[in-house]
Symmetry: C2
Subunit: 802 residues, 2 copies
């Protein structure tokens, strides 16, 4: 391979970056992802693809070679040679030599290889055989279609004769019926199937399913092949028998595994280039293929689609741009993080029943991008609340959506998120009108104000406590698989107790800040209750140097030094800082314990040591693989809570250090195995138990981390947080960061800011458009206006852990 650097970040004209990887081998699981509201595809650098679309439940159009289980998206997805992919075999007809692009399945070392992740496209630039090859894919704004471009140019001085064979996996579609053939009138390979079912009712339910997969070309192929097994023959996927002959055999699949292969024989004069356009996706019937062809085939159609799709993804632009003089950090914060946050907020992880806690937090992130969507989401969420105050397990986004998987298990925490996350919405918008919206319930047509919905949720939480005032955990809280601490009805959760106190305090704070019309007695009760919870947690759950995680049904306190595994959990410590339960001494104790037991090069583990065997009064978490997911990985959602909490107690240096560890970057890519285009839901933990695997990315870009991380950047690091009267300025710059500049869009005002540490001041000084500001709130900002904000801070101490 060429001696290019393994990774680079190029910034393009529009300010967006492209992440480039110059080897298909070093980071074999590196992926990028594209999505729209109806589908998502995760594209691996070697040509493998995971894709699904909504109808309305997640479905496939490019399948594995065997019957796949339907499941939610799993971390650490593993690839194998027949994994679904989009490959291009390329034969040099003069020499007979064959390669496959971008890399799989032949795995031939290429002269030049570049896997490039752009904002709205994924591209490979390859050179081999004296040919320059570009492979590019993008989605469209709204349709169920992958748009592929394959272009090849002869870089040599002699004529070349080549055959290009796109090989697009269709795979095992159905045991009832699957077949594929070439449709000349469409110039497409069309694979029909019938989704298996057995009950009559399902026939009618399935009638609208898009059970047909098509692969359409703009160029009539020389020949084609639609039969996976026959194509491969005895040669195997790495040297398919069908490629031996001059032409493919035009073979159908008839109750055989379909594939879409076309052959394009093409002479190329010196410098000549040839471009092919392909469309691939699911349809209900061939008339839909016709429509998609009309809409997307052809140069101008393609350009228009690319533009529209780019505009769609570009809506991910959020309220903050920074310049910290660290290109990698800035690029991630300015570009990839908002993009990921927008994915979460706009399409809700392509789920029809997002967990309520995810839905509310993901939409907290949307408040930084498009606050109208947050508003709508929060109204929808409370409209599915029960009149007794209980928030639902998941928010149903379609009339025919159902609660699935983990949403069939009762969790006790769904009430805390709305008051907590609402503060971001109010800070960003000051839109108190939301609070007086009148909204019905899941089980009652009675209309109540948004305020009342929140208070019902809080009251419900307060009622769901034991004689000590601690919150029952039922079959889980934020931590889904902690399902047997309280399944008998007695066990309590430290975290949930603290989260309840924090939710109460946050709501009271919002009432103060936004002058919300709350009954004073209620207000007092809430403040009192929060204190009582904090006191109870201190009384029953402080053990030595940190807070335990809970008390089981049978009264066993766990998550303490007495345990051999699961000694210390991160969440109770973080949230005791948020709720006010931990005093300063306790905070320092906890920070020390966490540093000793939980911090790894990739961030903070969620617990340690990871469980290696089932603990029957804790539950499913202890059965997960040690270091994976909730069982002691660097679970970034928990890590960001800790970082957010550290900011609340003034531990700005440590907070920033951990925040940087969390971010994927080119520096840690060889450890994490991923490119810096998203925060994964976890990095492998169990750092002391299984150091060899520690640090690996889950490669799963669904995570509640993004909105909290962005919140930390906006409200804490930059300290540009909204309040009732305007924009409050209180940067929490670490000692390591001398200067930070950027732009903050706030209630449509454009504030360009420069923050610097200087020995010249003892207290923060603010200049807005060169005028000194008294206090730290910018009250005068006007929508549409540009401002220049200068913030001078006294030098920050290197170490604020006491």
């Amino acid at each position: 391979m060429s001696e290019l650097p393994l990774f680079t970040i190029d910034t393009e004209l529009d300010g967006l970056s492209r992440i480039k990887l110059s080897s298909p081998i070093k980071l074999p699981n590196a992926t990028g992802y594209l999505w729209n509201r109806a589908m998502v595809m995760q594209v691996n650098c070697r040509g493998y693809v995971n894709s699904q679309f909504m109808q309305p439940e997640p479905a496939k159009y490019s399948y594995a070679p065997n019957m796949e289980a339907k499941s939610f998206i799993q971390p650490e997805h593993s690839y194998f040679s027949h994994h679904p992919g989009r490959f291009f075999y390329l034969k040099d007809e003069d020499s007979g030599e064959i390669i496959s692009l971008p890399y799989e399945p032949k795995r031939v070392q290429l002269d030049k290889f570049s896997f490039e992740l752009g904002n709205s496209d994924i591209t490979w630039l390859i050179e081999h055989f004296g040919l320059q090859i570009t492979i590019k894919v993008n989605l469209t704004k709204e349709d169920l279609i992958e748009c592929w471009l394959f272009s090849v140019k002869n870089l040599t001085e002699t004529k070349k004769n080549i055959s290009v064979y796109p090989y697009f996996s269709i795979g095992y579609m159905s045991w009832m019926n699957q077949s594929a053939t070439f449709d000349k009138s469409l110039n497409a390979i069309v694979a029909h199937s019938v989704t298996p079912y057995q009950k009559v009712a399902d026939y009618f339910a399935n009638k609208q399913l898009k059970d047909t997969t098509f692969f359409l070309s703009d160029t009539p192929p020389t020949a084609w092949h639609a039969n996976q097994k026959d194509f491969e023959g005895e040669g195997g996927l790495h040297q398919p028998s069908a490629l031996v002959a001059e032409n493919l055999g035009n073979v159908e699949a008839r109750y055989e595994t379909p594939v879409a292969v076309m052959q394009f024989q093409q002479p190329l004069l010196p410098n000549e280039h040839k471009t092919y356009q392909f469309l691939f996706g699911p349809v209900k019937d061939t008339s839909e293929i016709d429509e998609l062809r009309e809409k997307y085939l052809g140069h101008s159609q393609r350009q228009k689609a690319i533009k529209t799709y780019h505009e769609y993804i570009s809506q991910s632009e959020a309220c903050l741009t920074i310049n910290s003089n660290n290109d990698s950090f800035d690029d991630f914060v300015n570009h990839w993080l908002p993009r990921q946050m927008y994915y979460h907020g706009d399409v809700n992880r392509l789920s029809t029943d997002p967990q309520t806690r995810n839905y509310i937090q993901d939409n907290m992130g949307m408040a930084f991008i498009n606050s109208k969507q947050t508003r709508e989401a929060y109204i929808l969420a409370v409209s599915q609340q029960a009149i007794n105050g209980a928030m639902p397990e998941g928010v149903l986004l379609h009339s025919d959506a159902k609660l699935k998987y983990i949403n069939q298990v009762p969790h006790a925490d769904h009430g805390v998120w709305l008051p907590i996350c609402l503060s971001v919405y109010l800070n960003e918008t000051a839109d108190v009108s939301l609070l007086s919206e009148m909204i019905t319930f899941a089980d009652s047509s009675q209309e109540q104000s948004f305020i009342c919905h929140i208070e019902l949720a809080l009251d419900y939480l307060l009622n769901a406590t034991d004689r000590r005032g601690l919150s029952f955990i039922e079959q889980g809280d934020w931590c889904d698989p902690m399902n047997m601490v309280g399944y008998k009805g007695q066990g309590v959760s430290t975290w949930l107790s603290l989260a309840t106190a924090y939710a109460l305090n946050t709501w009271c704070d919002l009432c103060n800040e936004y002058n919300i019309d709350i009954n004073q007695q209620k207000y007092n009760e809430y403040r009192f209750a929060a204190k009582a919870i904090n006191a109870a947690v201190n009384k029953y759950l402080w053990h030595g140097q940190w807070f335990a995680r809970g008390i089981t049904d049978d009264g066993r306190v766990f998550g303490t030094d007495k345990d051999l595994e699961g000694k210390i959990f991160l969440n109770p410590q973080s949230w005791s800082m948020l709720s006010g339960a931990a005093n300063e001494h306790q905070q320092l104790d906890m920070i020390e314990a966490i540093s000793e037991q939980l911090i790894t090069p990739q961030g903070v583990m969620m617990l340690a040591p990871s469980y290696t065997r089932m603990v029957e009064d804790i539950g499913r978490i202890t059965q997960k693989h040690p270091g994976v997911s909730e069982n002691g990985s660097v679970y970034n959602h928990a890590a960001i809570f800790y970082i957010y909490a550290l900011y609340q107690v003034g531990q700005n240096n440590l907070a920033f250090e951990l925040l940087c560890k969390m971010l994927p970057s080119l520096d840690n890519a060889e450890i994490t195995g991923q490119l810096p285009v998203y925060i994964p839901n976890y990095y492998r933990g169990a750092f002391y138990q299984f150091p060899e695997q520690a640090g690996r990315s889950s490669h799963l870009f669904n995570t509640g981390t993004t909105s909290w991380l962005y919140r930390c950047l906006v409200e804490e690091l930059c300290g540009l947080k909204g309040c009732a009267s305007g924009l409050r300025v209180a940067p929490k710059i670490p000692a390591s960061l001398q200067k930070l500049s950027g732009q903050r869009i706030f209630r449509e005002a454009i504030v360009n800011f420069d923050i610097e540490q200087t020995k010249e001041v003892l207290n923060m000084e603010l200049l807005l458009d060169k005028h000194i500001i008294t206090g730290n709130v910018l009250t005068c900002l006007q929508a549409g206006q540009h401002y220049q904000l200068q913030v001078r801070l006294p030098k920050v101490s290197e170490d604020n852990v006491q």
Copy 2:
């Protein structure tokens, strides 16, 4: 490859045969199968394996590389390079050359290859590199374990240095937890997992699951590897990177896909040979591995296990042995067919809820092997009948079994099978005591006689008829996917009407024959009802040359010449012959229509033309792929009904011709793609629509065909059928078969018979031990005695289709 014949049948000392295939390429899907009451494995000639065990529901211990869907066994299973298998890489350490055995994944052409299917073992004999290699697998009688033997001998004059690397797929076990490592104390690779679940109740339900897979060797390995991805590396499964180094790297899998690979470095002097023993299977914990090791590891333990397992499979010996001078035919009838029938009867297809119709028919076959099991099965079946007479959809074989898949759909036919199949039990045993057994119901503890259970079932059927006297089909009859003919409650089934008539007549015939104590009025009613049904079927459903298949909810008669697809169905014709609905003219019309439209080189199709699009008043059958399963394949279960019916109406030549077409043989193996060790549930049909695929075997050995086929051979072809007074002799020898001899075990008497056609007689003549028998019933047979029966028949006409 060597110039051996592609297939051979060798008969061994014990009279059992071995089927041998000398190429891994010509019949790539050829398989054999081994089973015991707890597990089954289907072994492909190239080394792929499908295996499952019962705990009590079917489960895996060797998985695909991705999350597989749980489903019932599907036809035309497809293989791909990472499909579960048991492979042995073999490195010539002197040359560095590597092959894989038996064939996959490297697919190197071997000097000699023989895939051998024995009664209770599957073996490969291979020569390559001057080495003779034997690979052999058998199961045990009762445990969950595959017992493998790998032996290698140096055939050359020089010392050789080799490494043997067994590679046993473990695959993607679980997204919750999967890991594998080498356990030195066990000398085994042990892969742990946790079956994924989310609900607390499932934790307790799953506690007993055998979630651990182990691979144990009798020889300490030089090195090992347990990490699939790392083993394979960039080389791929066809040239794994881990085999490049001198020794494997002893690599664990930690939340990675496990595999079991060991390396045995071995010098081999001229003529020296070395044998390795391996055990592979699922366990709950390592103590179980210890127990299995004690029980099965070592030469004498292995020999004992082989013997015990052989004895188990040898219990499949059934009541008939024939010699027709066609070795292939005789071998199949004498050996493989009873073996398959025993599999069905003894382990009920390894289902915990066999469909009632399958359960009763499969146990009809057991009456020819071990009639006690038939007796018990029939008692169990009626004990799950509802007191209103309805037979259940499936028979639950475990207390915690549930009705699954198709058993959740209401079918109307379950009542007809018991009276029909009971006749075989009574014919074989004359055990009328069964009829007075007192048995309770699924929904009542009231005890009723077996007779009463049968009559309740018949009465229930008679009540489930419309104003015309035709049987409602509900959501299916024998034909499961014909689910929308009558789902609105009106549609009727020709077949079920005829089957009801046949069941009524059969029951009345049995009452006559066995002097069963039935109320005379009831008897008359049943006879009358059967006639009335036959008349109604004739009145409403005879269309031109054959009987239609039914009348839909909306009154449309279908399965006639007016239809473009599904014009003619086989079952109504067959069963009109059985029920007596068809007169002789009709019979000949039907036979002619069937010959023209349904007969193919591989047998009789179930319908034609196959449906190519959904017909909403017929249902799911029309959505299956044309020519597959019920949609017009040569569905052998339906074909054998036709053959049985032909025998009833004296069409002995045609019956035998079709019977021979159905049997897999070495002659048709290149068309069917399977070896003659089982009858598949279907051969591809749609002969006129998709001739290219027609004739292919489904490779699925679960089929209701076997017991009926055996019945045809015993009771019809040989005409050695039991009756109340003894053994009735009435052979239905075709013109093509001049002589037929054999042995019939009947009520423990051993009757050696010789049947011949001769011009010398005008009527059948019987000699028993050289004494002339008057009439055709042998009334004097004594258990344990040997007899010599000579049957002389007048010459049979070549053509008895008029």
